[in-house]
């Protein structure tokens, strides 16, 4: 009988020990589980950073590409034409007729001055990326100047409020590219002749509003591929910096795009 009691007591020792150790063992388990979650969270953050960096590089390349396209088109359509005309004018000069020659030389000088002016504007565009160093406002202003130069659009560009605090170069780059994409869409598809751009500085971020008086569209009717190229790209870019995009468009009544990005 005594032996039985001893055996029972011996078998109860591990159970008693286990009961005593339940609380600390649970804490250890909790720490291990939480640590694993922390690892997963860090991995997700790293992956998001990689995606963000890749998107930034892509954005930079797109801005460069757009700059090169604009320069190419301008050299061909504008400066090239002016220089050809200058050359033609100079070739047609007859040295015997002094008065006519004088007129043609003046015309050639005027054409040449126009070319120089155009070249200067082109030079500024070549520094398009540098413009972002002067700030988002200036970069957008350069885009506006370029669009106005075509004579097809009346552009109103307003800046509301003042930027306080530090800049965020990455967000500036993304927002600038979004602006470029929206303006490209307006130029290519909207048939608008008025564009309103409003850049507002809020306490919590930046709000960019772009309104045009073009043909507008029904968002639901857009083919998936077209959405992917334009609007989805804008949406994706805004989301990557924690922003939101609101698009309102009615056929025949233009388009209103509102973007909010937390800043800095």
């Amino acid at each position: 009988m005594q032996k039985m009691a001893d055996i029972n007591l011996e078998s109860s020792i591990p159970i008693i020990t286990l009961i005593f150790l339940i609380a600390p063992a649970f804490v250890l388990l909790y720490v291990l589980v939480q640590n694993r979650k922390k690892k997963k969270h860090i991995e997700e953050k790293t992956q998001m950073k990689v995606i963000f960096d890749a998107e930034l590089i892509k954005t930079q390349m797109e801005i460069q590409e757009q700059t090169m396209q604009t320069i190419g088109a301008d050299l061909h359509d504008n400066i090239g034409q002016l220089l050809s005309l200058t050359s033609l004018t100079l070739n047609s000069i007859e040295l015997d007729c002094t008065d006519k020659a004088r007129q043609k030389i003046d015309a050639a000088i005027e054409l040449n001055l126009k070319s120089i002016k155009e070249m200067r504007l082109l030079g500024r565009l070549l520094h398009g990326e540098q413009l972002l160093k002067l700030g988002l406002e200036e970069a957008i202003r350069s885009e506006v100047t370029w669009i106005e130069k075509s004579g097809r659009f009346v552009v109103v560009y307003d800046i509301d409020g003042e930027k306080c605090g530090d800049s965020n170069a990455d967000k500036d780059l993304i927002l600038f590219r979004i602006t470029q994409e929206i303006l490209n869409n307006i130029i290519k598809h909207s048939q608008a002749n008025e564009i309103n751009i409003k850049l507002g500085y809020l306490d919590t971020g930046i709000r960019l509003q772009i309104i045009d008086n073009g043909t507008g569209f029904n968002i639901g009717d857009l083919p998936e591929a077209q959405k992917g190229m334009g609007l989805k790209n804008i949406q994706k870019r805004a989301e990557i910096v924690g922003g939101e995009v609101f698009i309102q468009s009615t056929p025949g009544e233009g388009t209103f795009i509102d973007i909010f990005i937390p800043y800095p």
Partner: protein, 226 residues
């Protein structure tokens, strides 16, 4: 000689050997001091067995081995607190809490010694020390979770060293608290001893593993620096 090797002393000696192999060339003096602490623990345990034998043979002239464990308490408080300080300092300034804890233990230790002499065990100091170590352990885990940096806990010597300390001192505190109830289960044999044995195995296994992790980490960093 073999009679000095009980389950407890065997586990402690094994842990001492592992500590010696793994920590002898450790860069941190605090970790290296663990070898000394385990050596003191092994010697104390064996001396304890020897004195117990002498006492059982001559209860009139020989005192029980309790005084020896009272001395060991000082080393335990010192060495283990310094380890906690080293580990906690990685996350926060642990100086204040560790020094305050040591001061409290010191005062209580002297008070107990003065009240009942060295031949009775300093139970309150021992219990308070266990509680403090449990709290330090919880504080470490709190800091670990709060910290943004990820640590691979599978190979973290700090984590396993504190896990051993937490399980051991928590179990021991629980045993101390329920000592009276546990004694009722079998009055002629103190039931807490077998539980202490289990706790000892847990403590020294975890510590040995943490020493191995420490050694493994040092070899890795050597390879990286070459």
């Amino acid at each position: 000689m073999l009679r000095y090797f009980t389950l407890n002393t065997t586990v402690e000696t094994l842990s001492f050997v592992i500590a010696f192999v793994c920590l002898a060339r450790d860069a941190s003096p605090v970790w290296r001091r663990m070898i000394l602490f385990l050596f003191i623990t092994c010697v104390t345990e064996m001396l304890g067995i020897h004195i117990k034998r002498l006492y059982l043979a001559d209860r009139v002239h020989v005192h029980p081995n309790v005084w020896l464990y009272n001395i060991l308490l000082i080393f335990q408080a010192g060495f283990i607190s310094s380890m906690f300080l080293l580990i906690l300092n990685k996350y926060t300034n642990g100086k204040l809490i560790i020094i305050s804890g040591l001061a409290l233990l010191g005062v209580l230790y002297v008070f107990e010694l003065l009240s009942h002499g060295i031949f009775a065990y300093n139970n309150i100091t021992n219990t308070l020390m266990s509680v403090l170590f449990v709290l330090y352990s919880y504080y470490y885990y709190y800091c670990l979770l709060k910290n943004d940096k990820y640590v691979n806990l599978t190979f973290s010597p700090d984590f396993w060293w504190i896990a051993g300390a937490l399980l051991f001192y928590f179990g021991r505190t629980a045993c101390n608290v329920f000592f009276d109830i546990l004694s009722l289960l079998k009055p002629d044999i103190v039931i807490t001893y077998p539980i202490y044995k289990v706790l000892n195995i847990i403590l020294y296994s975890y510590w040995s593993y943490s020493f191995m992790c420490r050694k493994w980490l040092i070899s890795t960093s050597k390879v990286q620096f070459q």
